[in-house]
Symmetry: D2
Subunit: 247 residues, 4 copies
């Protein structure tokens, strides 16, 4: 029988970088028990059913994330999904599926508290200081450029009215994401950094986040695990979970 | 007779650094007319009466700011005050005086849009990442250390629950403002910079503001001049004026 | 008759941004006298002859810089040239012309002391930490991207053995200058900044230069004016002038 | 019998933070063999004799560093010492002892390549831009403030002619080391950072080093192990070892 108040978690992607970094911390939380670790190729739906999982945490590849979400909903679980690369159509379909199942799905590109704050502040600043560019730096092993999180920040800024300080098609001017320029550096010795540079009349504002290690994602993942069973449908990003809904 | 919709402004401290920097921009605004420039020694109350001032803007010395505020209220004007150094008792007294007079007084240590945003974000971040320290850099001619604005940021952070990452009485650990450490650099080539450094589990968040020139204060001063006649009593800081009251 | 020890200077481009910023400081130097200010369209050779110029300082456009250099050598003057955009062929031809004339020509993309130091340090660091990328930020009115100085830094780094931390053709990865990536931000509120980011095993080194105003170029231009008459042929950059020749 | 070309190393302080971080990398080097690991309380001289050590590496406490140095010299070994806190008198005595023994002693406060470069560049920049301040940030568990390395940088800057941009006894102005101000931040999420801020006429130069992990010290420690047997007497810092002697 399930111990009262303890959340039964299946972790998909346990052998990946995020899995190895997060599992010790999750296992140490009083109100969480890891009932199964699954990898790609395992039957996620069956494992979630057998273990009576409350929540499935998915840090696998984008390629498997949609079918994993279907599987966990079919097993009656809620989902916390940290993979990126969903299309808008994917997200709409997942929202519909979660609502039908009466379950919650939290999909977030980044679980670091400071990054969630940075994105929230960046959106607000863009209303008053619309000239903005993003510079992100990651280790050279990172395959994509820009990072999923920087791309997400750029789209949020663009929706809030931000634009590059100057247009221009020169290669040095970086990637144009809906009018916001993104620059990606790939260097050893820096784990993960994102800078949002705002410029105004005679002044400049910088927001910078540095993730030194993957332990910075643990508090956000734990908060999502604790919050998701009170949700129905898709929740995008960790902001509402951490800070409550904004009016 | 007063032209409809134009705000009649007396500027106290016109020959100071801020005065010389701000006056051309204020004079260029369609809805503002500078009806008098006064210096220390002038009779501010009489000049404000004679010129039928709507608003007195005060960028003089802390020593004269309280009596200037009394004088402008006595003349029936509203006040926008950019001097720093008021005690809590001063501010309480000014609030009472302004309420009795049925007039508004906006007192702000900093009118730069980006700095107002930085302080707002810093307060919010301190609730989630309480370990924080402040580093501010100004030109070597600045007489006080820390700057009035950095001191103000530190007190706001402390009220929001922030604390130094580590206590300690060593001189290198800077000034302790209610538990928040403040470090002041004085160097040529840098006009005015404030950094708020947050640290958390495996992550760091930086908020940095650079004021390159005094033209960055113009939009905030104009916004205060336009807003103050709709207020009664003391308004601390520019945040409400720029962003509206928070629930 | 020429006053002993005073250098007679003709300034070409006096009405440009650099000209207006530099001329008051040059005029204030005890050992320099501005004998003429010329603009494009004026006959530079004749003006230099008539005024018995020792040195012609040229801050005009790249389009006129080569013919101006020929003109000043023909007039028997030395040259200090702050325009950018010369080709290697141009520079070789100018060197030959200066040697024939027995005169010195100092050509530098940047006269700020701190930038000369940054480039010198960057070259040295690249030998030990070869993974490097450049980020430069300028005001939105700047027409070219990257800046001439950032381009120059990138080529020096490449010659010293530097390379990007990771290749890649994505637009966010910036401009590839001989293997070194350059990223250009264009934002109001920032005059001129260059950052060189080095990454190594578990460590990162940053060199950053900020030019707040054009007065930062004055000491370098004065040093070049004082040094150029002791040179024959072309001198590239201000490094030798400021720091002496390296063994 | 000793294998030709392999350096026999005794490591003192193997169970400390640096020891645990460095030993796997040292053991993996082809030309190094760890013949003993010793702790405080062990007889270092006897262990070094028994194992016929070529080099003793000491990352113990300052309190034991002087007697350890005597012990390793008595055993006929060379020394690489990474502890800090020696007085000038200590260093003079060690130099004398090493010369008598005909052995080399490399004493360095920091073995990170980028930090050695930063200190070298900082000294050179101070000759041209003498207004400078240091800001260092470490994790809250660090007991001393400022760090030994920041203190060392400050003394080098002072010897090169640097001074604070402005004097002043306010607590926010930090520690005065021979005229150079040092500010120490202690925050979680940042391993080890040192910034040297230079200011000049209209310009600013920043040198910043970040050590993300202790693996950054490995290349420098290996270089010192390889170089020390060619030295007689005390070598201060890693600069000569890495870059060769300066003229």
């Amino acid at each position: 029988m399930t111990e009262a108040g303890v959340i039964r978690v299946v972790f998909a992607g346990a052998q990946g970088r995020m899995g190895r970094a997060l599992l010790p911390g999750l296992a140490a939380a009083d109100d969480v028990t890891i009932v199964a670790e699954v990898e790609q190729g395992d039957d996620l739906e069956r494992r979630a059913r057998e273990t009576r999982a409350d929540v499935v945490v998915d840090f696998t590849e984008p390629a498997s994330a949609v079918s994993n979400a279907d599987a966990l909903l079919a097993a009656g679980a809620h989902g916390v999904i940290g993979t990126t690369g969903f299309t808008e159509a994917d997200l709409d379909r997942l929202d519909l599926a979660a609502r039908k199942a009466g379950r919650g799905l939290i999909v977030a590109p980044n679980f670091a508290l400071g990054m969630v704050l940075l994105q929230r502040f960046a959106e607000e600043a863009a209303r008053y200081l619309p000239a903005v560019e993003i510079v992100e730096t990651h280790h050279p092993d990172k395959l994509d450029a820009p990072s999923g999180t920087a791309y997400d920040t750029a789209r949020r800024l663009a929706r809030a009215g931000a634009r590059a300080g100057r247009p221009g098609a020169e290669p040095a001017r970086g990637l144009d994401v809906d009018g916001v320029r993104v620059h990606s550096l790939r260097l050893p010795g820096i784990a993960a950094r994102q800078e949002v540079h705002f410029g105004g009349l005679g002044e400049a504002l910088l927001l910078r986040h540095d993730a030194a290690g993957r332990d910075c994602y643990l508090p956000g993942v734990l908060a999502a695990i604790r919050a998701v069973s009170n949700r129905v449908g898709l929740v995008r990003g960790l902001e509402d979970v951490l800070f409550g809904e904004r009016s």
